[in-house]
Amino acid sequence: MSKKILAFIESKDGKFKNSSFEVISEAKIIAEKLGSDFTVLTIGKTDENEIKELAKYGAKKIITVDLDKLNSKSPVQGIKYSPSAFAGVISEAAKKESAQIIMLSATSLGKDLSGRVAIKTDSAVFNDCIAVNVADGKITASRPVYAGKSITEISTDCENILISLRPNVFKPEISDNTQIEITETDPDSLNIEAGDFSSVVKDLIVSDEKLDVAEADRIVSGGRGLRGPENFNLIENLAASIGAATGASRAVVDAGWRPHSEQVGQTGKTVSPSLYIACGISGAIQHLAGMSSSKCIVAVNKDKDAPIFQIADYGIVGDVFEILPEMTEEFKKVVSN
């Protein structure tokens, strides 16, 4: 009997995240290779039309768990959600579905859940994968280590496997499927106890609606070449012209010019957007580690020997103070066409 897959997907403000479509598409591919099938699981409030949309990515069966009903089992009132209870729901749903493979996205939530679910379900973990392969019914995966300075091929002898996919790497594929069977599961049937709410989220603080560097498909980053925090409006304007998130090198974060949530690199965030524009960043090895898997890298730097040019797909040697405003104007022209 081939192994069944449970694909856990996330939503935000009632809409499924893009990473959710990536997980469904990859679950479909792996299920086909294994000759098995997959069930999708979501916890939260999403309307039925949103859920029906998932059919086009190949989802044929989805279990929904109502967040309010789940939260009502918490001994603490007024919670937004509980990561520990989410882990309980995923593990219980996997048991109910006899799924030996659990797939999810390596988002903040996904990373927080992976270790918990792996222990609850006795699973090996293939986390933050950039490729998943099946050969002779055995699953292997590629995952970057040392922030992408090298890549490992991993496998396991365990029966159960939890696989988390690096966001933005796997492409959602549209299939010809149009039917999806929706089953709402009551948390009461999932053996969730008060003890599963050991940590609870009481509030969410959204930081001024800015796009997060870890989720962005386009990133414009600035480094020491910008000379001071007052000049980062050049980075912000360029980013705004193409709907990109803003990032920063460690040097400027350590200097206090930018918040550490923007830091890209080995001690910051590892990103792989479609487009990464590095401005005034020389390309220290720990920065390159965090962004070198970006699909298209553009470098702007006055030093033609800067290491960043060695991994750039496109680059301009010159003054960021002249080039960035010019590029912003050109982008605006092109985008408006």
Binding site: S108, G115, S199, L275, A299, Q310, I316, D319, M327
Partner: protein, 249 residues
């Protein structure tokens, strides 16, 4: 308070990685090792807690003899004693580490256990939440602010585009993120004091890792980048290429 901090030794972030001849690990020649940078935030938070509420800070590391270097760094920052859960090789996974730490801690009545949010070598972010499940106590990962009052913690956890305010009861596990504090530099006195602090060695349990590395390789090298040298005059051509050739705009 009975405070624990778990630390690991990792290659410095400036390390240029080469793959060793076994094709499964990195070539350690010429690599300098440091305490995992995120663990410094964990140690600092533990020391500050000891300073404000009293108690003792015990540092735990799982690894070969070399891992003592990470424990010693924590000693220099002010930790009191160390436990090395000793392994014969560096070939083990997150589960192995989590199980060994949990087995050690289960009868030690920890009130709070700090970790760095992740190590910068294998970047798993798994161990704190695995220990949480194995010990049956709550954990909060990627913490940028921590308050402890009356046996409860309130933590700010960094997520995409914002922060979550998380509450939990002690005992609790905290994964420290950059921003939670500014780690201290050891002074001469604390460096001298560190030399006499004890490290107890215990043998790691013999259990199998669940995930194995079959192969390690370097990412494909990039070549053939188009680099322009005429400054802003080249911008229109660059933007055209991004649109028509790379198709990213």
């Amino acid at each position: 308070m009975n405070i624990f901090v778990c630390v690991s030794l990792v290659p410095d972030s400036t390390t240029k990685v080469k793959v060793s001849s076994d094709n499964k690990s990195i070539d350690e020649n010429g690599v300098s090792y440091i305490i995992n940078p995120y663990d410094e935030f964990a140690v600092e938070e533990a020391i500050r807690l000891k300073e404000s509420k009293g108690g003792e800070v015990t540092v735990i590391s799982v690894g070969t003899d070399k891992a003592k270097e990470a424990i010693k760094k924590a000693f220099q920052m002010g930790a009191d004693k160390g436990i090395l859960i000793k392994t014969s090789s560096a070939d083990f996974d997150s589960y192995f580490v989590a199980k060994n730490i949990s087995d050690y801690l289960k009868d030690k009545d920890p009130e709070i256990i700090f970790f760095g949010k992740q190590s910068i070598d294998f970047d798993g972010l798994l161990i704190p939440s695995m220990v949480s499940e194995l010990l049956g106590i709550p954990s909060v990962s990627v913490v940028v602010k921590l308050d402890i009052n009356d046996g409860k913690i309130t933590a700010e956890r960094e997520v995409e585009g914002g922060k979550e305010i998380v509450e939990a009861d002690l005992p609790v596990i905290i994964g420290a993120q950059k921003g939670i504090n500014e780690p201290r530099y050891p002074n001469l006195k604390s460096i001298m004091a560190a030399k006499s602090k004890p490290i107890e060695e215990i043998e790691a349990a013999s259990l199998d890792s669940r995930t194995v590395i079959n192969e390690m390789k370097l990412p494909p090298a990039k070549t053939g980048g188009k680099i322009f040298v005429n400054g802003k005059d080249d911008v229109p051509e660059l933007v055209r290429l991004l649109r028509e050739e790379a198709k990213v705009i």
